[in-house]
């Protein structure tokens, strides 16, 4: 910590400076090769016409400027994918957060019993493999043999063709995603709730504040930083919709569940338009970044009010 505590002979070099490089360089090298270099390369690639001929021979690759991005803006399927993804993000993420918050409030309630068991049960969908649970849900949502329609039927509601009707496919996907993901945010919210000082509630009770008033004036404002973090993480996660439509609907029906990432995968690895697909990846990144920055600036504006 102090200069006098240093081993003799180490001179001005801080302790372990050389050793430090041995510790960090393997990880830095790995990150450079597996991530940093590819990201820069992706940007370069997005300005080329790299396609199946480029895969065969690099000599066929030409620099095409903004062509890929221009083509993207003219592709109806890209706009469909974008609309579907935004639907999933803007409807799915807030609903998912609301369910997480509700579950966290229940778990954190003083009257709650067997908290650990409930927490484990509620969280368990999070650790499961998307592909496997998507297959379960595809079956639960089956028009004829699905339990959900069977349940609705008992209440006199007609069978819904969840995954076959373009109007219902995205709501079904959102329902599934909420079930799969709400546990993560629930855990984060519970930690946030436990960090709120108990005497705040005590004081509110003395002042005769109702439960709803306590929620409105103590709980929710105290959770604001947690809420910001959860909103950003959830939004970023929901932008990356892929395995769900891949398994449950193949992007259908009528392309109603084709997400931006699904579009990228098909363009890149089905049709080998790798330059074009790289442009899709960057547009997705730009959208996620814009969403994150918008959240941050909104939060800053609100905290100033």
């Amino acid at each position: 910590m102090t200069a006098s505590a240093r081993a003799p002979g180490s001179r001005a070099r801080p302790p372990g400076a050389r050793a430090a490089w041995w510790f960090v360089s393997p990880a830095l090298l790995a990150l450079a090769v597996s991530f940093a270099v590819p990201v820069v390369a992706a940007l370069a690639l997005s300005f080329t016409d790299f396609d199946i001929y480029g895969v065969a021979d690099r000599g066929n690759v030409r620099f095409v400027g903004w062509d890929n991005y221009r083509r993207l803006l003219e592709a109806p399927l890209f706009w469909t994918a974008l609309r579907n993804t935004l639907y999933f993000v803007l409807v799915g993420a807030p609903l998912s957060i609301a369910v997480s918050l509700g579950a966290a409030l229940l778990l954190n309630a003083r009257a709650a019993r067997a908290r650990a068991a409930f927490r484990t049960a509620l969280f368990s969908p999070v650790v499961t493999t998307v592909v496997a649970v998507a297959l379960i849900w595809r079956y639960l949502l089956h028009t004829r043999y699905g339990l959900l329609n069977d349940l609705l039927g008992r209440f006199g509601i007609d069978a819904v063709d969840w995954l076959g009707d373009p109007a219902w496919s995205m709501p079904a996907m959102i329902l599934f995603a909420i079930w799969k993901n709400f546990g993560t945010n629930m855990i984060i919210f519970v930690a946030g709730l436990q960090a709120i000082p108990a005497d705040l509630y005590e004081a509110a009770r003395v002042d005769g504040a109702s439960r709803v008033a306590q929620l409105r004036y103590i709980t929710l404002p105290s959770l604001a930083p947690t809420m910001l973090l959860v909103t950003i993480l959830t939004m970023v996660g929901y932008f990356q919709l892929f395995a769900e439509p891949y398994v449950m609907t193949r992007g259908g029906p009528a392309q109603s569940t084709t997400s931006v990432l699904y579009f990228m995968y098909e363009e890149g690895f089905k049709w080998w338009n790798l330059g074009y697909a790289s442009a899709v990846a960057f547009v997705l990144f730009a959208l996620m970044l814009a969403g994150t920055l918008a959240q941050l600036s909104l939060a800053r504006r609100w905290s100033r009010l």
Binding site: M1, A17, V133, L261, G268, A281
Partner: protein, 280 residues
């Protein structure tokens, strides 16, 4: 009298809260229980309306078919091997780096750290296409090395270890240095034992991350025999859409190992989740 009424209201509230928790827990767990139930049904039994909740006569036919006709044992072994390898690699690369970023001083540390945090904003999918081409050039497409390259090091892993290592008192390390211990020795005999809980957390995240991964193995592995369990299961789901018992058996084989791992070590998992959600 008002005290009695308050007690009554409290009891009512307790019923509502615990009832709601029970309902939510049932919704969360039901699909998983039903998966197990259907996986034990006879072929075709699940495709009736209304769908049965429990098998009339439990049978392992679905599993038998899974391991014979669909030959999923190979995929199970692949997934297991890759997840173990990814866990070992993650520990090997991220722990040393996380410790160094927390406790060792070197030129450019703060700048590098900020750079790494910035990298967390970039979604992994952006790197996938060029990484695929790089691996193709190097001859690693359709190889396990190719699948493992992105699991070598990751910023989140380094971040987790760093957060935890920050709490190690500098005096402890200094005392060892004065005693003439080498940095490697300090790392092995002082730092690693202290970091043990977070190493367990990191290992679970690496294992689950690899086991549950879908898009990257789907891209890199082209050979069915080399595929991981989730990709093979997705293919099965596309080809045998009507064969529910078989698919649910596949889902059980895919989900149960990670669920058991989570149940055994959930304390560490949740610690990691919370550490990751606190700003560094």
């Amino acid at each position: 009298m008002s005290a009695a009424r308050a007690r009554g209201a409290r009891r009512g509230e307790a019923w509502i809260i615990n009832g709601a928790l029970l309902g939510a827990a049932v919704v969360a767990v039901f699909p998983l229980l039903w998966m197990i139930s259907v996986s034990l049904m006879a072929p075709g039994e699940a495709s009736t309306a209304p769908p049965p909740l429990v098998p009339a006569a439990p049978t392992l036919a679905g599993y038998r078919e899974l391991f014979t006709r669909a030959d999923m044992a190979r995929n199970l072994v692949n997934s297991l091997g890759l997840a173990v390898a990814a866990t070992v690699l993650s520990l090997a690369f991220n722990v040393a780096a996380g410790y160094a970023f927390a406790k060792l001083r070197f030129a450019g540390r703060e700048l590098l750290w900020r750079l790494l945090l910035g990298m967390m904003l970039i979604p992994a999918q952006v790197a996938m296409i060029p990484l695929f081409l790089m691996l193709k050039e190097a001859g690693f497409v359709n190889s396990y090395i190719g699948v493992l390259v992105p699991s070598l090091a990751n910023v989140f892993g380094i971040f987790l270890v760093r957060q935890y290592a920050l709490a190690i008192p500098d005096e402890l390390l200094e005392a060892a240095r004065i005693d003439g211990a080498s940095e490697l020795r300090i790392f092995r005999s002082i730092v690693l034992p202290v970091l043990r809980p977070i190493l367990v957390t990191l290992a679970i995240f690496a294992f689950l991350g690899s086991w549950n991964d879908f898009l990257w193995p789907l891209i890199v592995l082209t050979d069915d025999a080399k595929q991981t369990l989730p990709v093979a299961l997705a293919a099965l789901g596309r080809e045998h859409a009507g064969d529910s018992e078989l698919m649910m058996a596949g889902a059980v084989v895919t989900i149960v190992p990670v669920l058991v791992l989570f149940l055994a070590l959930q304390r560490y998992y949740i610690q990691g989740l919370l550490a990751g959600s606190v700003k560094g």
